[in-house]
Symmetry: C2
Subunit: 542 residues, 2 copies
Amino acid sequence: MKVALAQQDYIIGDFEGNLTKHLKAIEQARKSGARLIVFPELSVCGYPPRDFLEFDDFIRQSEESLMLIAAQCKSIAAVVGAPIRNTSGKGKPLFNAALFLHQGKIKGIQRKSLLPNYDIFDEYRYFEPNREFGLVEYEGLRLALTVCEDLWNTEDNPLYVENPLQRLLALQPDLLINIAASPFHDNQPHIRHKVLIDNALRAKIPIIYVNHTGAQTELIFDGHSMVIDGQGRVCERLPFFTESIQIVDIQNLKPIDEIFNPDRISLIHDALVTGIQAYFEKLGLQKAILGLSGGIDSAVVLVLAVEALGNENVRAILLPSRYSSQHSVDDAIALAKNLDVNYDIISIENAFDAFESTLAPLFKDLPFDLTEENLQARIRAVLLMALSNKFGYILLNTSNKSEAAVGYGTLYGDMCGGLSVLGDVYKTDVYRLARFINHEKEIIPQNILFKAPSAELRPNQKDSDSLPEYHLLDPILFEYIENRKGPGEIINLGYSSDLVKRVLRLVNINEYKRHQTPPILRVSAKAFGSGRRMPIVGKYLA
Amino acid sequence: MKVALAQQDYIIGDFEGNLTKHLKAIEQARKSGARLIVFPELSVCGYPPRDFLEFDDFIRQSEESLMLIAAQCKSIAAVVGAPIRNTSGKGKPLFNAALFLHQGKIKGIQRKSLLPNYDIFDEYRYFEPNREFGLVEYEGLRLALTVCEDLWNTEDNPLYVENPLQRLLALQPDLLINIAASPFHDNQPHIRHKVLIDNALRAKIPIIYVNHTGAQTELIFDGHSMVIDGQGRVCERLPFFTESIQIVDIQNLKPIDEIFNPDRISLIHDALVTGIQAYFEKLGLQKAILGLSGGIDSAVVLVLAVEALGNENVRAILLPSRYSSQHSVDDAIALAKNLDVNYDIISIENAFDAFESTLAPLFKDLPFDLTEENLQARIRAVLLMALSNKFGYILLNTSNKSEAAVGYGTLYGDMCGGLSVLGDVYKTDVYRLARFINHEKEIIPQNILFKAPSAELRPNQKDSDSLPEYHLLDPILFEYIENRKGPGEIINLGYSSDLVKRVLRLVNINEYKRHQTPPILRVSAKAFGSGRRMPIVGKYLA
């Protein structure tokens, strides 16, 4: 039996557009001789619909779409994902379901059993977990349908009491189908690869795995759908970050000859480009603006934006002050020229003078301090937002994760923007990205990679005046943020006690800043944003 | 048996401070002859600890505190709330538990069964639901311990499959104890009152209910702990929004003679004052600043801030431009004088001119538009933040819920601040609050209540130029936001189809602005913030 894997990108709540996408794929699969086509989780409404799931009208529209898709499944069957109602009168009002469509109808339903409710996932907010299991018989095969997390209750991570795979295997299926919405992070392709192979080895039957691709604001989906045979060998692997429909003959699977070892920085690079692209496309916008400082963060963001949107759609603004070094301006111009990007130079001196004289009666002769540093950053933001408003650009934020973590940034200043491109990339990884970008030819001027990082908000300032060097800072942040280790545990890894306590305190007391920042493209297992929910006011390590 | 109800406010992760608070209350209760003292849910670590619960170090510190509290419970018993570990190796790593402490030890544990995971609640993110029930025997009484939501699976709202009350009643307890962290919203005291009485009537035994008071950033806790007898009569009611330790004799309960009907606007007023107070206190800060426009929103915020912090701790800044009317300046000054609050007048004209001339080479002769309106709002924010930075004030945001809903506000402009005071109060309720404030004498000048709302960002501007009148807008917003009704359902209520579609579209396309706003004091059942999670990019009603 030929099966089509439809790895697609949907717009949340765009029922018409998503419907069209399903119908075209079904038609294409049918013409190619496929007897079954498999779509990702919640394909009908897009993932994650979040609190739209609480609107009866949204569910009703999803149900209508579902019936229209079913109506087109006559000589071919389809597995799609959609929310369905819990009619039992007990528990949450919805189930997250895989639906088997055939003969113009819904012929089978398998509801999701394991509801991820950690990190960026909130599924228990909306859905009741399934407790009943069954198979779908089709073309002489017994199909076990599962939804994403249902295959993730692995032995090294028993998050759930229930084990859907065990329950389904007891029914003796011939084929396991998993429809997924598994967002990218830099280690996720490896983990997913292993989880799927482990499942196939346990089940001893083939697995068809279909994931979303594209991005939904901060969540990037890397696609990378797969077919694994009953011996745990990968037989088909769909591309990363790209829509693709592939057809496999499930009774005639052939293992791919491969070593699966994608480069981490290359994946992050592609994820970020995908994230920028999807954000603009789904908003129906084309043009981005950003402040180009001559430093490495804005340089990398500019390159990624040009890759995502084209050089004609990106505008760089240099915003020098009296504290900007000539090399910063020169480096920024050299980069803009390398990329053939329009740039303008707008001095912030006039505005800075105006604010200084306006505030003078209140500030009297108080010394220059953080206030004046923030002032410069905020004037830049006001200018960038004015250009954004006047010409319809989206401002790209250029802060990195290390800065965001320790609060080394100005709220309503350099923390502004519609989308944060590097907010989940530590500074040491920003350098790796820059070297990756330059690996064939020098796009980012070498000087930008080699000079000491500086905010240039006072004379001869360096980041290292206020912060530990990034090669010391980043590993401590990683232990605290990604690994959720406490101060004692981190100190035991060999870091200085004072440094660890200082860094953890900085992270905690700056929660209020991160609360007000743009959505951050997520490329790690623990990004700032909806996946990391911390009290803004508290005393633990503060 | 005398039982003490300890209605307290804790700081999240302040194990030392929270411990002291427990020990003092235990000592006070013991001296008053109480044999048992009851604290609220997760009293040991503070509520909600959010992702700190994922830190082993945090749990370890909580366990240490718990043992130190237990050690002080010798001649008196205590019920406290704390996270405890799930040692089964299956499911989430923690339980949310009520612990019965006596003879220096943990003598009983009842884990929470119903884990709220909706609106602002994320408990299933951390905790495994309990499936085992037991009673604690003490002083000849059989005590059934429950944690907050455990009593909320009422017949008109069966959110859960499990029913802990039924399970516990089968064990024939003499007394029901509920430890809670039930945040305030304007209807919550009534709902809670009814739920507790319904439970007592079903159980036919008395209920002791102990809630948090104070606030944790956006979440306000109204306290209002209660004792209900076995006939469903309220026998003790602790004050709203105030710490209090009350002692009742459980074998000798006497119903209060009362009609329970607190005024909604008065409750919202008290909640907002509590919210401001707790935010500053827990940060260890005293001083607030705000922009005083002469409009009603900033007027109400100023009054609330003065009530919360004292007039000596609040500074009002008037920031007029060429478009400000004289009456706005006069009204603002009159209000500041009524409240005896320091105020300054800072013209934004210099800065506005500087930006206009800086941007002129890029804007050329493009007409005045939203850009220049936003520019004024952003200049004001830069000035307020400069004062905040220089003098250590927290900037109070003065946006209301109606504006926040439809995006009638400038990101990085009037949407700035450390805390949003009115972001969960619709404009029509802001007027009600103003009248409530003025009910004894005129504090807010009448002119502020009667003039047409205006942002004064262009000549003769009125809010009603861009928005429907608030008495039309607010009910539509309420149906969409609070009641989660779709466009068809709202139109069916009698609103014009064009208006409804326009309003809902505005709400949805402005999600990106609300994503970057300060925490909003929550006083409704559906506030913007962590209780309302919507996609930033999507097409449903957009």
